[in-house]
């Protein structure tokens, strides 16, 4: 009895964790289950199971085009956000730079500004400077949003880097650029990799910024949103399931790689 009471808080914690976990997973599981339903409406019971919705989705030209478009935007965002993020992190960590705190604060601002505000202000901005809505504007907005995360990840790694490493490279004949390329970049690799995966995932996931800045061509979230407007169907569930599986796989793989390179 006694031990039972002593263990009670722990048991309660454990139990509430599992309730929470079920709450997390159940909606996803339901969504995935419905994608296999052999009927064009969503309701229990599932009745007959089918893979036909997946067959339909992978042949859906709209879906494939939207996927490619999203991936293209994600890659462009990743490249530009990584370059800008690393550059800002180096500036902030350099010794003799004036106004470091200001640079850092400005770079991080987009991470705390609500997405909607960010989107509206960007919309006003591109109108003011005559950039048309569309691909370039979307990439611009996604990049602004992703940069702070790259900066923080790279900066954290940079702070743990022994100052002597670059000195040693310079001592052995490397000019500043070679030392950066052959010592600093490899050292930053885990942070760069993590930051890039983050950029890809947030860009693919982004709806609000894309909605305000996009042109006629839909990205994946915009396409799914448009389809939902026309009524839910297992086809949408199949699309969402594909997106979920792919992004989870990318996330797990990234986690695996960073963990391995740390040990």
């Amino acid at each position: 009895m006694r031990t039972y009471f002593n263990d009670l808080p722990k048991t309660a914690l454990g139990a509430s964790y599992w309730i929470f976990a079920v709450y997390l997973v159940l909606p996803l599981a339901l969504m995935m289950a419905m994608s296999f339903k052999d009927a064009n409406f969503i309701a229990f019971p599932i009745g007959n199971w089918t893979l036909s919705w997946y067959g339909k989705v992978v042949q859906d030209k709209q879906f494939l085009e939207a996927s490619l478009y999203s991936i293209g935007i994600a890659l462009a965002t990743t490249v530009s956000a990584t370059i800008i993020g690393v550059w800002i992190a180096l500036l902030v960590s350099a010794e003799n730079i004036w106004g470091k705190a200001v640079i850092f604060a400005l770079a991080c601002l987009p991470a705390v500004v609500p997405g909607l505000i960010n989107a509206i202000s960007m919309r006003i901005f591109i109108r003011a400077v005559d950039i048309p809505t569309g691909t370039f504007a979307i990439i611009l907005a996604h990049t602004v949003h992703a940069v702070p995360f790259v900066v923080i990840m790279v900066l954290t790694r940079l702070r743990s880097m022994p100052a002597n490493l670059v000195d040693a490279a310079r001592d052995l004949g490397a000019d500043p650029f070679i030392a950066f390329l052959r010592v600093t970049i490899p050292y930053l690799m885990p942070a760069l990799f993590g930051g890039m995966i983050f950029c890809v995932l947030t860009s693919i996931d982004d709806f609000v910024r894309t909605f305000f800045l996009g042109g006629y061509q839909p990205t994946l979230p915009m396409l799914i949103f448009a389809k939902v407007q026309g009524g839910m169907s297992p086809e949408i569930n199949a699309m969402a399931t594909i997106v979920l599986v792919v992004t989870t796989a990318v996330g797990v793989y990234a986690e695996h790689i960073t963990r391995r390179s740390r040990s």
Partner: protein, 356 residues
């Protein structure tokens, strides 16, 4: 011979703090030179200026006769072994050592050969494919040394490279370092705050204090002929006798010390009668006898403390004039204990006058 490294009136200030103060230092090629001094005396700053990581506030540094202050680190033919080794964590041992060779544009076959030779020099031939994290402290130390030697620098700089090792390994590495220096014939400039390390390895010791050179010379010379109280205390131990010069003849000064007349080598100074001076006297130069010797001067004393130290025994004796002296004796030769009377003395040439 032209010095391989020459600091000419080099100053380095950080704001109001003077880290290196009017340093004038010429180093002959092929020597093992040690910069010795307490923490914060400017040793690392001196080394970093030579490596190109700091520039002198005023003055100029010459490497083989050419001024180098304006050159970046990668354009100087000197290499550093850093205190924490600074091995590149993402490269294997072999690639770490090859780093400087690749940047010199050496062909891959030649690099392979040279890396093999260097690893053989420290018996790490079969570790070329290991990562630095898989090595022990001593092995990392050796790899860092070989990486710095690989590009064949004129001068190798070592900033307290042994301080992270345990005592046993440190002694072993001291011997290894010295033998590598002899084998390669290169100039080593070694920084340490450990006087024993300096005495063990150096051809020349440069004792530094507060950014200045206190004294420079061979280990035996510095030990036997310290010029200042700082050196006499920093290298080994000393008794200090403060008195007034009574007379000087043949390089030996007679010093009036608390009512006794003691004799000491003038040690390069030119004292005149009446000068207030300090005499330094090593504990092992002090003899203790149970009877007053006929043939040499001695003073009567009483043993205050007897401490067994293994190979020798340390005696603190109280003289009739009220001052204490520390003597280091052979425990077998003198069995007297606390409270016993003894006669103490020293050879004239073993006591030295200090310049300051």
């Amino acid at each position: 011979m032209q010095p391989v490294v020459h600091f000419k009136n080099v100053n380095k200030s950080y704001g109001a703090l003077t880290a290196v103060d009017d340093l004038d230092l010429a180093i002959a090629p092929g020597q093992f030179v040690t910069l010795l001094g307490p923490s914060g005396c400017g040793k690392s700053t001196t080394l970093r200026m030579l490596g190109g990581f700091d520039s002198p506030t005023t003055g100029e540094i010459y490497l083989e006769g050419k001024p180098i202050s304006h050159l970046p680190p990668n354009k100087r033919n000197v290499n550093i072994v850093f205190q924490d080794y600074a091995l590149f964590p993402h490269l294997t041992v072999g690639r770490n050592i090859a780093f400087g060779l690749e940047l010199k544009g050496m062909g891959s076959a030649a690099i392979h050969r040279r890396v093999g030779e260097l690893l053989a020099l420290v018996s790490l031939e079969d570790h070329a494919e290991r990562m630095p994290a898989q090595l022990s402290g001593g092995q990392r130390q050796r790899v860092a040394l070989m990486r710095a030697l690989a590009p064949d620098p004129n001068v190798l700089l070592l900033d307290e490279p042994l301080s992270a090792l345990d005592a046993k390994l440190r002694q072993q590495m001291q011997i290894e370092l010295k033998s590598i220096q002899k084998k390669t014939g290169k100039t080593f400039i070694f920084v340490t705050h450990d006087q024993e390390e300096a005495l063990t390895m150096s051809d020349v010791i440069v004792v530094m204090n507060k950014g200045r050179i206190e004294q420079m010379g061979g280990p035996d010379e510095l030990y036997a002929r310290p010029r200042s109280r700082f050196v006499a205390n920093f290298i080994g131990q000393s008794n200090f006798l403060e008195g007034t010069v009574a007379s000087v003849s043949d390089g030996i000064a007679a010093v009036e010390w608390r009512g006794n007349l003691v004799r000491a080598d003038v040690n390069g100074t030119s004292p005149i009668p009446g000068d207030h001076v300090t005499v330094a006297l090593r504990p092992e130069a002090v003899f203790c006898l149970s009877r007053k010797p006929e043939d040499r001067p001695s003073l009567k004393a009483r043993i205050d403390q007897r401490v067994f130290k293994g190979a020798h025994t340390s005696l603190t004796v109280m003289l009739d004039n009220g001052s204490a002296l520390v003597a280091q004796i052979d425990p077998v030769a003198l069995s007297h204990i606390e409270g016993d009377d003894v006669w103490v003395g020293w050879r004239d040439s073993d006591a030295v006058l200090l310049a300051k």
